[in-house]
């Protein structure tokens, strides 16, 4: 008789704002195995892990542990069931000591209620020694390197005598040697019967480490594969799935190539980005592909001067640009539609008209220099019509609109500046299929009118369907270039994954 699965997902569904993140996910994790979960960005991996961590609860379906149905309705409930999570965003308290972090919420105390600092310190030392980690338990966490912090997180998980450890992209911050040590620790834990769920983009490592691999695509479970009986191309095929759907309007046939209008030369910002050089033509849709941490976000921020002036040369239509603040970038004819519309894009409590017109207030003043309510309303009404935003009136607050309409409002806000260069970072995040189609058609229309569009996306389909050309970034540099039609999804994904691994790893400083 096979052992009872340590964790069983049974028809688990989860929606966010009406968008399905997980659909009928059903698979088993066996006790004492290292089980990898892979998938593209946005496939639902992190959502699935957050269900186990007690951060989110499934809308329907069931979670079973050793045959028993469980409700993990809070992180502490998940801990009670022996589940610990090492998240991408480290969840330590940076200003406290290592020992204090290990015993947060489970402090050792004497019978008088005094904290037993000595006992906690010696326990911490033992836990860290077990992991062969040479870390001072009195050190403040913010004085440790990322790799050391990760070890502290794992030590904390083991301290809680967890039977299941979830690692969500644990080594995106680790160098090769540190990763290898982490893997050795995981193998040791496996031999002690601990179950590990391991989420990663790096397929080579997954094949090196995991016993079995489960694949998610668009929130749906694609299958569990025995590592010894499958291959990397087979897993990529499962991650990528079938051909592109028909959401993308056809590209424009052009008689003659348009002139190059945008030139970026040796752009550098901080240690993470650059040097990067590329050019773009008038009316071109240029896509940037890369995994988390590849530098695509940083590139867009640098181009819009969000983190202060970047090094390197930017020129638009032969004119060298001085671009030290977002305001200067706007005056130079740039617009950035940011990835997070609620945090970076919109004022959710304010009206549609206040949001849409924020970027063009100067143009809406009357002869006295005062804001003209009529012009503001007219401008907002025009935008609502032009972009097909469904709303009661221009006074409706943006937070009450659907995701798709919010996104269209955000696009309207930026397109009303009539930019020459449009930066789109994840322009269809969290919107439904209908709104996606409209946004794609809009991009094509704008390009046809001569706008240069730089687009990044968490969905490779989108890049393939939309772009005239795709640049692949890894570790802050351009690694590959594909023309439209030249790349397929698996080729692109492979370039994104390998792009990062082909480089010599640089040690990470704390």
């Amino acid at each position: 008789m096979p052992p009872l699965p340590c964790i069983a997902f049974d028809k688990v569904c989860k929606k966010f704002e009406g968008i399905a993140a997980l659909r009928n996910v059903t698979f088993d994790v066996l006790p004492g195995e290292i089980h990898a979960v892979v998938g593209e960005n946005g496939a639902g991996k992190s959502t699935l892990m957050k269900l186990l961590a007690g951060v989110h609860q499934p809308d329907s379906g069931e979670l079973r542990m050793r045959g028993q149905s469980v409700r993990l309705d809070s992180p502490s409930r998940a801990q009670d069931h022996g589940i610990s999570v090492v998240f991408q965003e480290l969840s330590l308290f940076p200003h406290r000591s290592v020992a204090a972090n290990l015993f947060i919420h489970r402090e050792l105390a004497s019978s008088w209620g005094w904290l037993d600092v000595a006992a906690m310190r010696s326990e911490a030392t033992r836990a860290l020694t077990d992991l062969q980690a040479d870390i001072d338990p009195d050190a403040r966490v913010d004085s440790l390197t990322l790799a050391e912090r990760q070890l502290v997180e794992i030590a904390r998980a083991l301290q809680q005598r967890s039977r299941v450890i979830i690692l969500d992209e644990p080594n995106s911050a680790l160098n090769e040697a540190e990763s290898q040590r982490l893997f050795a620790i995981l193998r040791t834990l496996r031999s002690e019967g601990v179950t590990a769920l391991y989420v990663s983009h790096r397929l080579e490592e997954v094949f090196d480490l995991a016993d079995r691999i489960s694949v998610l695509r668009d929130g749906e479970f694609q299958g569990t594969f025995e590592t010894s009986r499958t291959t990397i191309p087979a897993i990529i095929q499962a991650m990528v799935g079938g051909p592109l759907d028909q959401a993308f309007p056809p590209r424009l046939g052009r008689l003659a190539p348009e002139p190059v209008v945008l030139e970026i030369q040796d752009l550098i910002q901080g240690p993470e980005l650059g040097p990067i050089s590329f050019t773009a033509r008038r009316g071109e849709i240029l896509a940037f592909a890369g995994l988390e941490g590849s530098g695509v976000d940083e590139l867009f921020r640098a181009l819009f001067a969000l983190d202060g002036p970047a090094r390197g040369e930017l020129s638009l239509q032969g004119r060298r640009l001085r671009q030290r603040t977002p305001g200067e970038a706007m005056r130079n004819g740039w617009a950035l539609v940011p990835e997070s519309r609620r945090e970076q894009g919109l004022m959710t409590e304010k009206s549609l008209s206040a949001n849409i017109t924020l970027t063009i207030l100067e143009r809406l003043r009357n002869a006295l220099g005062l804001m003209s309510g009529r012009r503001v309303d007219d401008s907002a009404s025009d935008a609502i019509r032009e972009f097909g935003i469904v709303a009661d009136s221009v006074e409706q607050s943006v937070g009450t609109l659907s995701g798709g309409n919010q996104q269209k409002a955000l696009l309207a806000k930026w397109l009303s500046t009539k930019p020459g260069v449009l930066l789109l970072n994840d322009p269809t995040r969290g919107v439904d299929v209908g709104a996606k189609r409209e946004i794609y058609a809009l991009c094509r229309r704008l390009a046809a009118q001569g706008m240069t569009i730089l687009v990044a996306s968490s969905e490779t389909d989108e890049l393939l369907g939309l772009a005239d050309r795709i640049l692949v970034l890894a570790k802050g540099r351009i690694r590959n270039e594909f023309q439209a039609g030249e790349a397929t999804k698996s080729v692109l994904l492979r370039a994104m994954i390998h792009g990062g691994l082909m480089l010599p790893e640089s040690p990470i400083d704390g």
Binding site: L306, G345, K350, A354, L358, T359, L361, R365, G369
Partner: protein, 320 residues
């Protein structure tokens, strides 16, 4: 008519100043019922309005700051410093217009300094002004030797107007209405005001929209300084002397006025009409306690309680 009632109620609730209006009306009715003519006679009411005008002038600037998510604790101290320094300038024989100009320039500089310190040293405004509150108040005490400065000529226009009425209104009230009108136009009808509210609503989105947060922060703090200067000069005109103890605790009454008026502490929007009503409410309460012959010490306690009640009523009405 049954169909129109909900829409009337909803419109009532959508008025930001509803808490201040409700509070002001109910307190006035209570006082009128309990003290009768003593409260509800023109000269007393004008006196109340005069008292409210000090808070009122300051609350205009504070509304702008709260709307952008900032707060200034040093307004009362700037008022005192301007009040004392202008009086000293007059005592030393400076012509009245020049002395007034000096006072306003000093207030503006204090505000500019507040903004600059916050931006340059990356300290939240509330902390910066917690510090400068003591600095400015301390300087006022040093310059005045901790005594009132009154030995100067009171013949000039400033003091003629300061203690009298113009167009039937005490001069302080008139200045409050002028400053309030300007502030209202600035907040509701200029790009500057809209951007202040955008910053208060979502600072990150404002930055992504090309708005320079440090520049707006310094500008708003400087404006607050100028307004505090105006209030300081008006205080001098009314008291006819520079007093190093005036303006103490004003910052709390001013912030309370703005919040009673319906401006959100979290920022994003503001109402200057509400702030002026809030200032008036506080002045009415203090007047009422005098009329009811309660000890002045009770005044402080009751004022605090009424502030909480007014904000709570405002919230309740809106949520229903």
């Amino acid at each position: 008519m049954a169909r129109e009632r909900p829409s009337f109620l909803r419109r009532l609730r959508s008025i930001e100043e509803i808490g201040a209006v409700a509070g002001l009306l109910s307190i006035c009715v209570l006082l009128w019922l309990s003290t009768g003519e003593k409260f509800a006679n023109p000269s007393n009411l004008l006196q109340v309005a005069r008292q409210g005008s000090s808070y009122g002038i300051l609350s205009v600037g504070m509304t702008l700051l709260l709307a952008m998510g900032e707060i200034d604790l040093s307004v009362g101290a700037i008022l005192t410093l301007v009040n004392v320094v202008t009086a000293i300038a007059l005592r030393e024989g400076t012509p009245m217009p020049l002395a007034v100009f000096l006072g306003l320039a000093l207030g503006t500089s204090c505000g500019f300094l507040n903004g600059l310190l916050g931006v340059a040293l990356r300290i939240p405004t509330i902390i910066v002004t917690l510090g400068t509150l003591s600095v400015f108040r301390g300087l006022a005490l040093v310059f005045s030797n901790a005594t009132a400065v009154a030995n100067f000529s009171k013949e000039s226009l400033l003091f003629q107007l300061g203690s009298r009425s113009v167009l039937g209104l005490p001069t302080g009230v008139l200045v409050m209405l002028l400053v309030g009108g300007a502030g209202h136009v600035l907040l509701k009808h200029t790009a500057f005001g809209w951007r202040l509210q955008a910053i208060g609503s979502n600072a990150q989105a404002a930055r992504f929209s090309g708005i320079s947060l440090p520049r707006y922060r310094v500008a708003a703090m400087t404006l607050m300084g100028l307004i505090s200067g105006i209030a300081g000069v008006m205080e001098l005109a009314f008291l006819q002397s520079g007093s190093p103890t005036t303006g103490q605790g004003y910052e709390l009454y001013v912030i309370a006025s703005v919040i009673i008026g319906g401006t959100a502490l979290a920022g994003g929007r503001g109402t200057i009409v509400g702030a002026l009503l809030g200032a008036l409410l506080i002045a009415v309460i203090r007047n009422g306690l005098v009329l009811l012959e309660l000890s002045a010490y009770w005044g402080t306690a009751v004022t605090g309680a009424v502030i909480i009640a007014a904000v709570a009523v405002g919230n309740l009405v809106k949520k229903q």
